[in-house]
């Protein structure tokens, strides 16, 4: 663990990513406490440019709502959706991949055909259809992002498990009569985890992008403000008021970039051999 931390901190991209993520998380957690005004409240005249009034530093949108407040509350929704939907995707994808890889044969065939069924449908199109059918809400959005993002996890875990299950220590566990679930959970999965963690960090980024895209198309939760919603709502007035779209757009960019940097840093840290030899 200590080694992991030091190598993580040695990778500059990982550090930058971590700083960005910590910043975003602290904004999401503490921001609304510091700025308790609802981002939906119409506080000033509409289309107020940024940096003109200190009370609304980033200006106001088409209804006179504070863009800055929207950014802060949007951070909460974007990060929450990113994390929860990634967790949900892992909860589905890891067991399926592990079982397919461990048991092989017909179980593998069945599970992988099932996975491929989801992979053949373009993920964003499927997410749109799911949200449209289930009615847009934070739950349906998290669910549909999870549904479209678990197949890669399953494929990755299966591959790892396939290679690990032929190792001696696994065979030893089989010989000593350990139960299948014990072997998967205690022997194989911990060793298959590092690529999954890297993938998960990238999945959070993808999930944030997916949520933003859905909100952009007007399929966001109408009761919650998110960065994607802000970009989508401001898009049509971009010629009159650039700031409504640009600030949340930059927020999405930075946040996703940060997560990608973390993914890279994790990759380096968790594959010390790769990082030492490859660079």
């Amino acid at each position: 663990m200590k080694q992991f931390c030091t190598s993580m901190l040695k990778s500059p991209s990982g550090v930058i990513g971590l700083i960005i993520l910590l910043l975003a998380i602290s904004v999401a957690v503490f921001g609304p406490l510091l700025f308790p005004n609802s981002p939906w409240r119409m506080v000033q005249r509409p289309f107020l440019p940024p940096f003109t009034l200190s009370t609304v530093p980033l200006g106001t949108d088409a209804l006179g709502r504070d863009v800055f407040a929207g950014m802060i509350f949007g951070a909460r929704v974007s990060l929450l959706v990113g994390l929860v939907s990634t967790l949900a995707a892992l909860v589905v994808g890891v067991p399926i991949g592990a079982m397919a890889g461990y048991f092989g044969g017909k179980v593998d065939d069945a599970l992988m055909r099932f996975t491929e069924f989801f992979q053949t449908i373009p993920s964003f199109a499927l997410a749109i259809v799911l949200v449209a059918i289930l009615q847009p809400s934070i739950y349906s959005i998290v669910a549909s992002i999870a549904v479209v993002s678990w197949p890669p996890v399953a494929r990755l875990v299966r591959g790892e498990v396939l290679s690990l299950r032929t190792r001696e220590y696994v065979q030893a566990a089989v010989v000593t009569g350990q139960s299948n679930s014990w072997i998967i959970l205690r022997e194989i999965l911990p060793n298959a985890l590092s690529p999954v963690i890297v993938l998960a960090s990238l999945m959070v980024a993808t999930a944030i992008l997916l949520e933003s895209s859905l909100s952009f198309l007007g399929l966001g939760d109408p009761n919650l403000i998110s960065w994607g919603y802000m970009v989508g709502a401001g898009r049509t007035v971009i010629r009159q008021a650039w700031w409504i779209t640009v600030f949340p757009g930059v927020a999405i960019l930075i946040c996703v970039l940060g997560l990608n940097l973390i993914g890279e840093g994790l990759n380096d840290a968790l594959n010390p051999r790769l990082s030492r030899e490859g660079r």
Binding site: W40, G64, A132, Q135, P222, A233, T236, R239
Partner: protein, 516 residues
């Protein structure tokens, strides 16, 4: 910004007034936007907005309507009403021919009405009071009513009762008649070609009965699916006419400021679209009149008008738009007053029960409006959850009464008996349908007033009845009226006299001309 639009409107009004003084010039081509592409042009069978807009210049009705909704001659040159208000006699023009040269006669009128009764839901409803229709000679049509029906003279507009050529449709299968794709009417313009997804081209009817008209040689209705591209098409000069609703509201101020651009909100008087919130009177907190009144006080409707609709439209005072007959503003008023709303909610014992707000999926403007209304209601302590869905899903929820508050807007067709009563009388509560009394309001007195109002004579008596009905409704707040909507028509100023009637662009090219 709103001031600028108002200024634009004033300017536009001034310009039309001065245009009237000028001598119309003949010739020229006009490019107009049609949005969305109409599903077809056979007005007797399809009544979508865009169909009415294009085909209203190909077909004609017996009457036209001024912006004040007074009937004016079109195919009928004069009409008379019997003493008992049950017999209406129309004298037709004798010099009218169809685009293919055949004369237009009373036989066409009788045939059209028979056809419309089967193909046109609103025409069928409008004709319920008609007992029989006869044609004593080729140029006279006599309608005999079962009982006097006040709004009868208001049902002859081209979109409500278009005249169809009997010689081309009689005995054929109407749905597959080849003339549906190349409609033949009596109007000032003839159908020429339709390149799907690109444009519809109409050309001048050289044998039009009003000599000298139309002034324009050709109309190209350009089909441009993207709202931003429509604005750009106007800016680059590809089109000269943007009919109401064809660009987003927030583009209107920008386009209005362009050189040689005239904007007007006129031309929607016949339709008088009125926006309101359905309030489900059946259940929950909204069953209490005081909660419904609180909603009226809580919503900042001036803000909606100035910010969301860019200053266009008018705050509604009640169930009738101010542009239709028998409108009165002598009703209880609901100014924006959050304190009063809070007090009313408290009095009604509202304790933060969740209330669902269903949005209207007609695009950006309605989305923003939903957010603003939600915020208004939350500010006075109501617990609002927004539901967004597509148009069909929204209709279904309203039809199934599965809503607490829902956005809508409806046309009023000039007369309370045609377009207002339908939303408040208890006989019009029918599950599964949308534009009836979806709020579930029942009041025997209102039922009686609207029943009497439709058949009362003379006009002063009708006015008395509808005044009373409006007062009762505004006091009861069965739905929360928001705005009388105005869809601005944006034109190049060289396009003159386009909007002269209560249906605006829909039959406007008859009088329009181009300044060179």
């Amino acid at each position: 910004m709103s001031k600028r639009v108002l200024l634009g409107l004033l300017l536009a009004c001034g310009l039309t007034a001065s245009a009237l003084a000028q001598e119309p010039k003949t010739g020229g081509v006009i490019n107009a936007v049609i949005q969305p592409e109409p599903p077809g042009l056979m007005l007797a069978m399809i009544q979508n907005g865009p169909t009415q807009m294009v085909s209203g210049n190909i077909f004609e009705g017996l009457l036209r309507y001024s912006p004040k909704l007074e009937p004016q001659p079109e195919l009928a040159e004069s009409w008379s009403i019997s003493e008992d208000a049950k017999t209406y006699t129309f004298k037709l023009r004798k010099d009218v021919t169809w685009h293919d040269g055949k004369p237009f006669t009373a036989a066409d009128v009788l045939f059209s009405i028979e056809m419309l009764k089967q193909t046109h839901a609103r025409a069928r409803a409008n004709l319920v009071q008609v007992d029989k229709i006869e044609a004593p000679d080729d140029y006279t049509v006599v309608f005999t009513l079962k009982q006097p029906f006040g709004p009868f003279l208001g049902i002859f507009e081209v979109g409500s009762m278009p005249m169809v050529p009997k010689h081309l449709y009689e005995g054929t299968d109407w749905k597959t008649n080849p003339y549906n794709n190349a409609p033949v009417g009596t109007g000032p313009f003839m159908f020429k070609e339709w390149q799907k997804g690109s444009f519809i081209r109409l050309v001048k009817n050289p044998n039009y009965y009003e000599k000298g008209k139309p002034y324009i040689d050709e109309i190209y209705w350009q089909i441009i699916p993207d709202a931003a591209a429509r604005s750009v098409a106007y800016e680059t000069g590809k089109v000269d006419v943007l009919p109401g609703g064809s660009v987003e509201n927030f583009d209107v101020p920008r386009l209005s400021k362009l050189k040689d651009t005239c904007v007007t909100g006129a031309g929607w008087e016949f339709f008088s679209p009125l926006a309101w919130l359905w309030l489900n009177n059946r259940q929950g907190p909204l069953a209490d009149k005081r909660v419904r009144q609180a909603i009226m006080y809580a919503i900042d409707r001036d803000f909606a008008k100035d910010v969301i609709w860019n200053g266009l439209g008018k705050v509604a005072t009640g169930p009738s738009a101010s542009t239709i007959k028998y409108y009165t503003d002598d009703v209880p008023k609901y100014p924006y007053d959050p304190a009063k709303a809070k007090a009313l909610l408290k009095e009604a014992g509202y304790k933060g029960e969740k209330i669902r707000l269903l949005l209207l999926a007609y695009g950006e403007t309605w989305q923003r409006w939903g957010e603003a209304v939600k915020q208004n209601l939350m500010d006075v302590g109501m617990n609002i959850e927004t539901i967004s869905t597509d148009v069909a899903g929204g209709n279904q929820k309203i039809g199934d009464w599965d809503f607490d508050i829902a956005f809508t807007y409806l046309y009023q067709y000039g007369d309370p008996a045609l377009g207002v009563g339908r939303n408040y009388v208890s006989s019009n509560i029918a599950k599964g349908q949308v534009f009836n009394n979806a709020e579930g309001y029942t009041n025997p007195e209102i039922d009686k007033l609207f029943a009497d109002g439709a058949v009362a004579t003379p006009d002063s008596k009708r006015k008395e009845i509808y005044d009373k009905a409006q007062k009762i409704l505004v006091e009861d707040v069965p739905v929360a009226w928001l705005l009388e909507l105005q869809f601005p028509t944006i034109t190049r100023c060289k396009v003159k006299n386009l909007i002269t009637t209560g249906i605006g662009v829909n039959d406007g090219f008859k009088d329009a001309w181009l300044e060179k």
